[in-house]
Symmetry: C2
Subunit: 460 residues, 2 copies
């Protein structure tokens, strides 16, 4: 039963498991205590910190273990902003950061700070020039992920770090998705990570604050982890996290090359096997193990269920699977199709045969979902019914608005328009994406009593 | 090698260990995902929540798992204060709360809120009347521990909860030390706990917010755990925590009775075996497994090391062992001797023979430390040297100021005074405590150029 959602979580690396079990016996005591059990725990904690720092490329005293990657981001951003309060209250983030970064930005905004979201290109990459242009006199902090968690695009961290350095602004790098593959290059000031992304246990994140970076921890004081991560440390998990980071790094170069071939195969074959698919993310500057594509006329949740029944566990940034029912902010910022979105992220050790098996079941799974939703055949109907048609898809969730649009586009003459009424946020992304895929003209969006009207002109 | 610091941390309960191992295999995936690994994780999480809620005595949807007891307290207090912002910004805590509560109070004060610290009696108990009197029109929240972590005194939670209810103020109970022994009685509104205090793994706390309690989570938004605990949940640890809570509860009544006898034995024998010892905390209303005493003329850190060498791991709230070098705020609030402080907290299963062994080595360990520090014999010297003597103990850490006082008290005539100059915070506590133990009169404290002068009148 292949599991292809390593970017979300993965089973423990065998080395992590072994380290966890050993330190359940040796590392349960409070490392701050003076007796032998405490001293033993302190030795384990120190060794774990040294191993993690070496893998990150920092000094041990610059690295704190937090309770998750999310809390590392929350604490890192809050502490860095407070430490630079005198410089100002302006924060720069990319539009495709992880929600933990964007939610921190929301909190900052709500407290009276200002935030600039740097846009990304269609591949999901932020430009170093755009970052440099966003930096201001009052910029307290800039944040940029090392690689995107939904589409795998690697960001130009070293260039952005250089621009930040020149402007005297610290850069926080969310390295959650890339730390398994190698250290983050460049002159960054703060860095965050998450152990269960590299085969470690959940419950461990890391927050690195380079010496010389102004930092003022927020929230109630606590002595643990240099005051940067409150609460009793989960030592067995920390030891396991450090051990697995070291272990995956030892295998990283070889495994990256192998997985890159497998994801390259998916990138190449999916558009050949499945009609109306858009593979998204940068084809070259990308994580080795991750590939994402969107399928027209497909409801992401149904597709995930179909693939799950066929034995494959994958994830989706599609509007129809997220609990908030809004389309992925990443796909939105990239301006690509969001419906029927599938993210495949291969855990280390994934067999080539499992990828072939996935490619075998995918076309049928997509076809079944399309048939169930009544997705249109490629050829539009021949008889025009008037110069303008209105499709009322109010109250219908994606991908229905786009399916209904596709069904009637042949009913207007060349040059005629279809107005799609929809109150599903995803339509704003998917109607233009459909137009581009189909060679039709997207005229624009107009306000409507409920939702919005998306106007399309028939060109072909 | 007996370990007597269960109140700080303890090895995993065998049931917790078993549950942890099983869920490393079954519970590593993201419980928010739709595929089978995610659904399996969700089932485990739901079952753990139900088990924990049953043990606490609340509804499952009232209970969130946090990353530690400390973060549960921080989030609980911040969320409850924000939820009651309209009522006012007054917070009531007892003077002997855990540092996580007092640090939250400091943060609240720094943000412009007001805090009332309810004093405790010499046994460390807060009075329900004093709590009721502290509640005001603008009180947003009151906090009270279920039992004290340093001296074991059980607090009158049910009475205080009743007073709070009558005043329309929610009560948050820090139940970290008592949850292993039973649910917290009374009409509390919020409750926090810490798994590694009940034989679960570290990295798991719990925060209960009763339905109807106003609560506004603070910090960046996050979907996990009803928005009350950000970050990917450490599911194996959560499952283990819930399993061990259920397991220790099944054994709680019998084990409490057994351990209470052992701690009763320590309470009774220590003052017989060791001269100049004060056993602190309530002799009746107390935790079954915990007993604390202070030894005159003893440096806590040296005593801990001596006991460690003799094979016994215990803790201390003494000024000389804490990393901040200030005397325990708990002993200070109680007004009892702080020097040579030892906390014994027995893990479940502690053998009676180990306690006897401890009682055998303790007198010698105390005597050795006293000899090393040059502690005086009981009888004061006979020749008075004048009506007033000054002991300059500036720059000397506890217990030296008290030892020097004891050495010279016989040098002044009856009615004469000794002024002890000290800049160690502990002297403020220990000089009056010594006077009470020795039947001398503590006249008071006077400001001095450095530290303070503590004036003692010889009566015997």
């Amino acid at each position: 039963m292949p599991y292809f959602d390593a970017a979300s979580a993965a089973p423990l690396h065998p080395v992590a498991r072994q380290a966890l079990l050993a330190s359940l016996d040796e590392g349960w005591a409070d490392p701050a205590r003076l007796y032998r059990e405490g001293r033993r725990a302190r030795l384990l904690l120190d060794a774990a910190r040294e191993a993690a720092a070496e893998a990150v490329g920092c000094r041990p005293d610059e690295l704190a273990f937090t309770s998750s990657g999310t809390t590392a981001v929350h604490s890192g951003i809050a502490g860095a902003l407070a430490g630079r309060r005198r410089a100002g209250r302006h924060l720069v983030v990319s539009a495709v950061e992880h929600s933990s970064v964007l939610h921190s930005a929301d909190t900052h905004r709500a407290a009276g700070g200002t935030v600039t979201e740097v846009p990304v290109d269609r591949a999901g990459a932020a430009g170093a020039e755009a970052y440099a242009a966003a930096l201001r006199e009052d910029t307290a902090l800039a944040c940029l992920q090392s690689a995107n968690h939904e589409v795998g695009t690697v960001q130009p961290v070293a260039e952005v770090a250089q621009a930040c350095r020149e402007a005297g602004v610290p850069l926080l790098v969310d390295a959650a998705q890339s730390l398994a593959w190698g250290p983050v290059e460049g002159a960054w000031s703060l860095l965050t990570g998450s152990a269960h992304k590299w085969g470690g246990p959940s419950g461990v994140g890391l927050l690195v604050v380079r010496k010389g970076t102004r930092f003022a921890p927020q929230g109630p004081a606590d002595e643990r982890e240099s005051g940067r991560a409150p609460g009793f440390p989960d030592l067995p998990a920390i030891v396991a996290a450090a051990a697995s980071l070291r272990a995956v790094r030892a295998e990283a170069a070889a495994e990256a090359a192998r997985l890159r071939e497998l994801t390259e195969r998916i990138r190449a074959r999916v558009p050949e096997l499945v009609p109306d698919v858009e593979v998204v993310g940068d084809p070259e500057r990308r994580l080795p193990h991750l590939v994402t594509f969107s399928c027209l006329y497909v409801d992401g949740e149904s597709l995930l269920h179909a693939l799950d029944r066929a034995g494959y566990s994958v994830s989706s940034g599609s509007s129809c699977t997220s609990s908030t029912l809004t389309p992925s902010h990443v796909l939105k910022a990239m301006g690509v199709l969001s419906e029927g979105n599938v993210r495949v992220s291969l855990p280390p050790g994934t067999a080539a045969g499992d990828v072939e098996g996935f490619l075998r079941v995918l076309p049928e799974a997509v076809a079944a979902v399309r048939a169930q939703l009544g997705a249109p055949a490629a050829a539009p109907r021949a008889v025009p019914r008037g110069d303008e048609l209105v499709v009322d898809a109010l109250g219908r969730r994606c991908p229905v608005p786009v399916i209904e649009l596709a069904k009637v586009i042949g009913d207007v003459p060349l040059g005629g328009t279809v107005r799609v009424l929809s109150d599903d946020e995803a339509a704003r992304l998917d109607v233009p994406a459909w137009c581009e895929m189909r060679g039709q003209e997207y005229v624009g969006e107009e306000p409507a009593e409920r939702g919005a009207a998306y106007v399309v002109r028939r060109l072909v």
